[in-house]
Symmetry: C2
Subunit: 790 residues, 2 copies
């Protein structure tokens, strides 16, 4: 390792480029005029309100300009992921200097006027945020919430063999759980087929008000930790810029060489083994090159450098002078010409065209997106001769669809799951792509382990990491599918929120090309947790999804296998959405043949004529089901009522597309009031059996004409170790409870229905007893009681 | 380190005790009769449905019985935290054998009948779950969701100097983010004052269907990783029980000795430094001692051992014979007497009385709970001469209250926050207790770093770890307070869900004594994210809270500092709840003096007469606010309407206790319909300005008589970098929008109100322009427009 790889000229140039970045970053925080300091600095040149974060900016720019050097030197195809949340000035600056910013925002041109606009727009209403938001070209990671830089970076690298993802990991962020486990992503990156992630752990030293843990353990401990995670760290430590430039250049040269060697070895044949990838630890002072001491307090190298190092600049002449001196310390007159353009000698340091990290198409992944080559989902149909007679595992045919999708799109599609794809009955996929495993192997793995070094199914017991990988994969233009247990999708609530916000912002950015949707299958649902119990019962993710922008949120609850196939096909073809599909993995009654399923899913909501008897008349009652098990029980209740009260006219409705329930002005999938009223009537009682928490339906439908008659059942947090039937009864979503509810609500049955209610209650007691005594599973119980409603 | 610390007799005994555990664990999965195998095993002895998880059970029992040995030897005060989710049989077994189980559940007595009941009740409807649920004596950690064992364990150890928390960390769980960062908890444990956590990382080797990462990296890498985390690992590896017992006993002796030495050194004076605590890595086969090979497939030492190793036992005579042989391999006849009681020589191996880990009062923390000694919260009141005139930071006085609460309860109260207590204006607390910091120190820390080795404020940038610590602290009988940014409380959504479920179950367990509530202050709220923007805007945690049991959920939105003090005092005195308090940290208008605040918060909802002009008459309109900023804007809208439409009779309502909005049968804090109607009228328009997503209010109030007239405004996910006023306008919660909404909804203003609406719109445009142009902050803007509504 050459310890001084930079010539004096190179050192001078790279230092100049970095000074320009630092000057711009400070300018963004402070200046509303006089961008080149061509006049003496006056209070009116200073923003009225100082917002922004100086602390990690110089370190981020330092990484960026050094990345630029190796990109040029090796013609690398690279993007930059900035983990430190508030470091936007440190990334905005080099993206602006390389020209990619002005190409997207011509008013922020590469001249004095454009620079002034950039300064003013930073952290200003309607302008640019203090994170690497979607508005920033080159960004695939906002970092507003901390913890996901590494998993996003790995997602970007998968199946992008030529890509290098420079990833700044903040030492604050590094304390989060998601980041702490994401270091293990290196066990899931195949050097022959995937690109490289080059993490740069930034020991900036401080968070908002505290030191960081990783900056305050010994060098040996940190080295040991990172090696334990499977990395080979190179340390770049200090505060003298000249020495640090040499160190950083040397470390980057070494890392790029090592990455190349690893990739060559893997790609030139031979067994793929897990490499120990290189990484960099950059220990530099927080607020590096900024004010050293202010008011007797250390600022550079302290938490006090986090935001605005010098306050009261407009009103305090001393501070104004200090700011002036600080800004002039970068010697802007040497860096920019009189028009505010970066001098030619420095401009030459940036890569060209799409090699600029702000213009690399991988960071605007929609540009590279190729539609999936989809098999015909109808080929996987379950035969349904008659509705509601046969059982099948809803997710099994989907596994076959995913398998053949994977076969047709080997480098463009991935399936993610936390150790549960087999449990979730999606294991057909292993016939085409096994689970990637680059950690150690044992002989017994060959007996059904389904592990391979070239698999594209990714399974790790970290929903955070999986979701991060998936997002990174999709953001860089590919497609993916994530299946997870319903209760534990809450682990990624916050990631969902952030991705939904990212997508919502992108809706207003025409230059961001559409990316594939994030597809989440929520399975192993609340109603089938026979041996897991209460902790595994939580259908509340949907409540969260409903809070986010209607432009990007979609929720589907297919009632059976064919509807699931149709829904999944639709979702895999969609873009810029987050599709949440709720469907259980166990054996369930099959309702619709494929033709009917397509019609039904296309409408998203509909009357099932075969289950209704209101043909040609006004119904006395509407019964609706939404969700597989909820629909089954609603259907059985309908059958019971029709058997015992044959004069009762019942309309049966199933809802697949949950947003159909909301008014059309609230969501693009919303049903018009007219259509809603014609389905649910203006005045008839509605018994609505819902998969999740019942109040969610009220939240969607409270504006509807017939809302006063809408009676919703769903999960009301009554659970423990239970048979499915007992669980249903406890939450009153079982067929008997529903039928009794219905009788209570139909005026004309007030008296005549009493004996039927009695009978239903007896049946319920007997069924519960049977289930409890025999400890039988859901299927048996259903078989036992189903004939009563057939 | 003595490599063979056990004598032949001791080895024989401990192995016998472990065999008894394994026998019981297998019995729980399989047997419904013939518990002692006194008859030949017949199909009718086998459960009809085989549920339960064998895989990690033997390893857990192995740890438990070895912990018992050192507890007896050193008279340790210890509890056991079982991370591996599905290992309940491995913990239930030794808890039953030591007698603590039967003391709580007399029908599961220590005899054949009790054993048969235990077997039948395991994983059976109405019985015991397959996790270490609240029903299990000695458990403070269910493990249904993985990842929190270590943080719970540290929470238990804080301020419990004599406690040792044996913590089984599953290697599946170890892949989760929360667990991966919780290893760093050792930087926050003071050996002089806190107890010890002894992690036992269980390299069981497999998850449901996959190997685990930590079991498939090299010994050196794992050793390096754990040392990097700051631990000293001792490895116990193998499958031969005799050798493993010796290794485990030697490792435990060493760990207990090292813990003692560390604690003695810290407690006998001298500076407290961060010790390198010992831990154990136990590598043992999954399903250890179970069937080796079934159907040609390896089971012991494979993922196939995860659940039920032998299926079809009732119908397949070969498998029945295999089960018989397996169960008899433990030689139950040597372990239990004819009555099913553990033989005396083995019984002597368990600790006695409260030293038994299933009977240790720390694991039923309510038994040890001492009420907080609270200062009088009225002493911290903000002076409010007239409502709505002066500003104060709502959270500052709370900081002083927390400071003095800490002073009065030095070993019984902790404050937790992710690097944000200063940002959240709670820094008064540092005057009494600084931030605990045991990682390295630098000289500059003395300048305002507020770090100390004996602090009790815990700050780490991991909401997961903080929440886990808080839960562990509270579950073991102490009190705590956690303040966090609103948007990122979603990071712990799933932890909230699980703790709420734990508490809900405890409501039905009379033997579990009440513990202190978990108190969450949600601050830095959606409406004041001037420099953070869209990613930091998410008030949706409340939607999640509403899904959980009304018995344990409480939500408060105090409108000002005095109401926050009154609310916090109430919450800190409460038990068995999760109190969520939403209040912003910035400068806000103060509404109520302390006397009024107490009355108002006690009612939880009320009319503010001073803001209303409907005295003695029916109002034309009800305006309500819930949340500090929402209330301020609603109040300003009221003032605007009263100024420009003085004949309009307005009733102003403020809601502190959100559950007041729901019917009384839905929540203990719910208002009766009669009271609700008398507040909100039966037929007048209601403009309700809500802090969070508006549909939440509809979800609570859809059953109320006047719901059709309830018009709710709140956050509708319209945000970016904005002034507070612009953000409010974008979401239509600003005073002008609200006043215009009101005019639209009051019949008698349909025509006459038009010119006032015009005026309001002009004012709104002018205010927005002013805010935007001047980039001023919320306070200035409020001062600028407030006089118009005064």
């Amino acid at each position: 390792m050459n310890s001084h790889p930079l010539s004096a000229e190179q050192l001078d140039a790279i230092h100049g480029y970095w000074r320009a970045c630092n000057y711009l970053a400070a300018g963004m925080i402070y200046l509303r005029g006089n961008p080149l300091l061509q006049e003496p600095l006056q209070p009116e040149h200073i923003k009225k309100r100082l917002l922004g974060h100086w602390g990690s900016s110089p370190g981020l720019s330092f990484m960026y300009v050094h990345a630029n050097r190796v990109i040029r030197q090796h013609d690398l195809n690279a993007i930059f992921v900035a983990g430190p949340g508030h470091g936007a000035p440190g990334v905005l600056a080099p993206v602006y200097l390389e020209g990619s910013f002005s190409e997207v925002y011509p008013d922020m041109s590469q001249d004095a006027e454009g620079m002034a606009t950039l300064f003013r727009q930073f952290s200003f209403p309607g302008g640019f945020g203090s994170h690497c938001t979607p508005e920033l070209p080159g960004s695939i990671h906002e970092g507003g919430e901390l913890g996901y830089s590494l998993s996003h970076a790995f997602g970007a690298a998968f199946d992008n063999p030529d890509l290098v993802v420079f990833t700044a990991v903040g030492d604050g962020e590094a304390e989060t759980g998601p980041l702490a486990t994401a270091w293990h992503s290196n066990k899931f990156l195949n050097p022959a087929r995937d690109g490289a992630v080059l993490p740069i752990l930034h020991l900036n030293g401080y968070k908002i008000n505290n030191p960081t843990i990783l900056a305050r353990i010994s060098h040996d401990e940190l080295d040991s930790l990172l090696r334990g995670y499977g990395w080979i760290p190179f340390f770049v430590e200090g505060d003298d810029p000249a020495a640090m430039h040499q160190q950083m250049a040397a470390a980057l040269d070494q890392c790029v060489a090592d990455i190349g060697a690893i990739q060559r070895q893997a790609r030139e044949g031979g067994a793929v083994e897990r490499p120990r990838w290189p990484m960099i630890v950059l220990r530099s002072p927080k607020g590096w090159t900024g004010p050293k001491v202010v008011g007797g307090h250390r600022v550079e190298g302290s938490w006090r450098a986090h935001q605005v190092p010098l306050a009261d600049v407009r009103s305090n002449p001393d501070n104004l002078a200090r700011l002036d001196a600080w800004l002039r310390s970068y010697k802007p007159e040497e860096l920019f010409d009189a028009d505010g353009r970066l001098v030619e000698s420095l401009r030459a340091l940036a890569p060209q065209g799409p090699r600029r990290m702000g213009a690399n198409p991988h960071a605007n992944g929609g540009l590279l997106r190729r539609d999936l080559r989809m098999p015909d989902f109808r080929d996987y149909a379950v035969t349904v001769a008659q509705p509601g007679r046969e059982r099948a595992m809803n997710t099994r045919p989907l596994g076959a669809l995913l398998r053949d999708t994977m076969a047709r799109n080997p480098d463009n599609f991935r399936v993610f799951g936390p150790d549960e794809n087999s449990s979730n009955k999606l294991d057909a996929i292993y016939a085409v792509s096994k689970k990637l495993w680059l950690a150690d192997r044992l002989p017994e793995d060959d007996d059904g382990g389904e592990l391979a070094t070239d698999g594209r199914v990714l399974e790790m017991l970290s929903e955070h990491t999986l979701e991060g990988w998936l997002e990174g994969y999709v953001l860089t233009g590919r497609h993916g599918f994530f299946a997870t247990y319903e209760a534990f999708v809450h682990v990624i609530d916050s990631m969902f929120n952030q991705h939904a916000k990212w997508l919502a912002i992108c809706e207003d950015l025409p230059w961001r090309a559409a990316i594939a949707s994030v597809n989440l299958l929520i399975t192993s649902t609340v109603w089938r947790q026979d041996h897991n119990g209460f902790t595994h019962q939580d259908p509340g993710f949907l409540d969260l999804v409903l809070n986010k922008s209607p432009a990007v949120t979609r929720i589907y609850l297919p009632p059976d296998a064919n509807c699931l196939l149709s829904t999944a096909d639709h979702c895999l073809r969609s873009h810029n959405d987050i599709n949440v599909i709720v469907c259980d993995k166990q054996n369930h009654l099959q309702m619709l043949d494929m033709e009917a399923a397509i019609v039904h899913c296309t409408k998203g909501i509909g009357i099932w004529d075969w289950a209704s008897n209101d043909q040609g008349v006004e119904p006395d009652l509407v019964i609706a089901g939404c969700g597989d098990i909820a629909t089954q029980e609603a259907l059985a209740a309908t059958a019971l009522l029709r058997e015992y009260l044959p004069d009762l006219k019942i309309r049966f409705i199933n809802v697949v597309d949950l947003f159909r329930m909301t008014p059309e002005k609230e969501h693009p999938h919303g049903l018009s009031d007219r259509d809603f009223d014609s389905l649910f009537t203006m005045d008839k009682p509605i018994i609505f059996n819902f998969h999740g928490y019942p109040w969610l339906i009220h939240r969607l439908a409270y504006r509807r004409s017939n809302h006063a008659n809408l009676h919703v059942r769903g999960y009301i947090e009554k659970g423990s170790i239970n048979t499915p039937l007992e669980l249903a009864i406890a939450n009153r979503v079982d067929r008997f409870s529903l039928a009794m509810d219905a009788i209570d609500r139909v005026e004309k049955l007030r008296s005549s229905g009493a004996h039927v209610k009695e009978k239903l209650r007896d049946m319920q007691i007997a069924a519960r007893h049977h289930a409890h005594e025999h400890g039988v599973d859901s299927e048996e119980i259903n078989d036992w009681i189903w004939p009563h409603g057939s």
